[in-house]
């Protein structure tokens, strides 16, 4: 019975063991670790904020205008003798509340656009790569043309036409109109490679239909790559939305990070030295982008074992 030293039981892994493996992997892959850490910090910030702060004060005229942090609010001298943690902006918004409310909104836009973009992109990529022929020609041509037109132009056209009462979800939808193009192209390339794999051939010879092959054989193996693309997609979606909002083409009533930047520009906060107003959104955006970038790098390494540097 050659079981003792010749085979090992890999099938049973306790939760503790899995947690240990995950932690060990994170140590080996610092990009992923730091990226996740940054997002964890943002998440905690928002969660604690909603639990302990009066987030309603993101609205204009919640307090006196132009107040520096902890400066006494002459409009509410009794209740707000110690002012606000991050002060207020020109229109009386509590900056801290704006941050707490705005972060999830911006992330929401990114997530909606990213998810729609990846889903549409993946579907089109699979159809083009697997079936080939004229389907591939049509989709590839649209994708190639779409990639050469600057996304911002398309977005401006869309946003201008949707101007009246643009909501956050609508913003997400608008950005998704351009978010699907790049994923479609990169995932198509991956599927083209995967289509030639031996196990796909065997599945076909075992009677698996085209659709099942795409869904059951190829998709699970592409999951890490699609995950990494999703993160990249979300990052560019956030960037696009912030860009639009800064130009004044966003949801005016929502305290998204981009809209905050817009108001900063409108009221020349930098010239007036209102660091508590332009500082936080820039810092948070930096954290978001650095975090997303590191996560993409980390996921890249996970989905491509050849990049692994250490055992």
């Amino acid at each position: 019975m050659a079981t003792a030293t010749t085979t090992q039981d890999f099938t049973k892994k306790t939760f503790k063991r899995r947690a240990e493996d995950f932690w060990r992997y994170v140590k080996r892959n610092p990009s992923l670790g730091v990226g996740l850490g940054l997002f964890l910090a943002l998440f905690l910030f928002v969660a604690i904020g909603y639990a302990t702060y009066e987030v309603e004060r993101y609205r204009p005229l919640s307090g006196g205008p132009d107040l520096a942090p902890f400066q006494k609010d002459s409009y509410n001298p009794v209740t707000r003798a110690n002012g606000y943690i991050l002060g207020t902006d020109r229109q009386g918004r509590d900056v801290m509340a704006v941050m707490i409310a705005g972060i999830p909104l911006t992330l929401q836009i990114g997530l909606i656009a990213g998810l729609i973009g990846i889903t549409v992109g993946t579907i089109l990529a699979f159809m083009a790569a697997y079936y080939g022929g004229w389907i591939d020609q049509v989709i590839s041509t649209i994708v190639d043309v779409g990639l050469t037109i600057p996304g911002i132009l398309i977005l401006i056209v869309i946003a201008v036409n949707l101007q009246s009462g643009l909501s956050v979800p609508q913003m997400g939808l608008a950005v998704s109109a351009v978010a699907w193009v790049w994923p479609a192209r990169t995932i198509r390339a991956q599927v083209l490679v995967m289509r030639e794999q031996l196990y796909v051939e065997i599945a076909r010879l075992s009677g698996t239909s085209g659709f099942s092959i795409m869904f059951k054989e190829m998709l699970p193996n592409l999951a890490p790559y699609i995950g990494a693309s999703l993160v990249g997609s979300v990052a560019s979606a956030i960037l696009a939305s912030v860009g639009l909002e800064a130009l004044g083409l966003g949801p005016f009533d929502s305290p998204t990070l981009g809209m905050t930047i817009y108001w900063n520009i409108q009221f020349s906060s930098i010239l007036h030295g209102m660091w508590w107003w332009f500082g936080p959104p820039i810092l948070v955006l930096a954290m978001i982008f650095v975090g997303l970038f590191l996560m993409t790098a980390g996921l890249d390494e996970w989905s491509n074992p050849r990049l692994r540097k250490r055992v």
Partner: protein, 338 residues
């Protein structure tokens, strides 16, 4: 200096006639699950001009051993002990710079898939001269254009390639030709020991025969020792003088090729030879039962016993049973498969 003279000059020093002497070589890999003893105390020696083959299945440690002989072991592996004595120099005892000079000059490697290790954007002649330059610089001699052409032509001729090959790029050559170039590079400094790791495994049978004959002639001309690593027992039988059988990182039998093939003393060798198909007659299929051993936390006792389902508690002695013939003498499984 003619080729044979260089090596006979070397052997007139203290360790006359010894090509390479490996003593208790150990190569370990550290993994989070424990230590993997890829090479677990291997000892053998070769005289100048002799041919030895090291055979084993995948996981036996033979390729790891080949790299360790050149001190090319990469992390997470490390050489954990032993000596590799070439001439009168222990290669494991010198510093990195000295070792770099020893490579190609004293010990040369023809790696597995050597044809894929040629630089695709360099002409053959430059690749041949590359190693020479590296060693020449330290002797502060620079070769003139004429000398370069002469050396390149001589090297190509030694592996039966026409001089026109010098101006070609690797992709213009066939598999067999590329392998010959790799052999020419490896022997350009007339090394004392040649380590060939599966030099012909990717080649067709006819090309293989040619390349091996070329390699053999070259080795004889240099009076160098050659260690051939492989898994093709037929090739071993045709090419080498001695053969060493590896299993689970250890040598189980080492001896002259005729005796080992005619009457193997270790059960693993016996089964290995029995399982070989021949072109002479059809016979029943005899495999080796069980699975190749996992090297992770392998216990001290006989590894082959484990394969057939029994255990031995202590380390098995390495016994000299006849002239130049050594085996792992495990009494428990000695008669298995007779």
């Amino acid at each position: 200096m003619t080729t044979a003279k260089k090596n006979s000059k070397k052997s007139s020093s203290s360790n006359a006639g010894v090509g390479i002497d490996v003593q208790d070589l150990k190569v370990h890999y550290d993994t989070p699950d424990g230590v993997v003893k890829a090479v677990d105390g291997v000892s053998f020696s070769l005289r100048q001009g002799e041919r030895m083959a090291l055979v084993g299945e995948s996981g036996s440690g033979k390729s790891t051993l080949a790299m360790a002989l050149m001190r090319l072991t990469r992390a997470p592996g490390r050489i954990a002990g032993g000596k590799v004595i070439v001439g009168d120099q222990d290669l494991l005892d010198i510093d990195e710079e000295e070792m770099r000079l020893q490579r190609l000059n004293e010990v040369a490697l023809v790696p597995q898939g050597a044809m894929n290790s040629l630089n695709p954007v360099m002409k053959i002649k430059n690749q041949l001269l590359d190693g020479l330059y590296d060693h020449q610089i330290n002797k502060s001699e620079k070769l003139s254009k004429e000398e370069q052409v002469e050396i390149v032509e001589k090297l190509l001729k030694s592996v039966d390639l026409i001089p026109q090959v010098a101006e070609m790029y690797p992709h213009e050559l066939s598999g067999g030709m590329k392998q010959r170039v790799a052999i020419a590079i490896a022997t350009s400094m007339q090394p004392r020991v040649i380590v060939a790791d599966e030099p012909t495994s990717a080649l067709d049978v006819v090309v293989q025969r040619n390349v091996m004959q070329t390699l053999g002639r070259l080795q004889e001309g240099l009076h160098a020792s050659i260690i051939l690593i492989g898994h093709d027992m037929g090739l071993v039988a045709q090419f080498s003088d001695h053969v060493g059988v590896m299993y689970a990182g250890r040598l189980v039998e080492v001896g002259p090729v005729k005796t080992v093939f005619k009457s193997p003393k270790h059960p693993y060798t016996r089964l290995l030879i029995k399982s070989l198909p021949t072109l002479s007659n059809k016979k029943d299929f005899i495999g080796i039962p069980g699975l190749p051993a996992t090297l992770l936390n392998l216990p001290e006792g006989c590894a082959f016993c484990l394969r057939i389902g029994q255990t031995t508690p202590t380390k098995i002695p390495w016994v000299n049973v006849a002239k130049d013939h050594f085996i792992q003498d495990c009494k428990k499984c000695a008669d298995y498969g007779k």
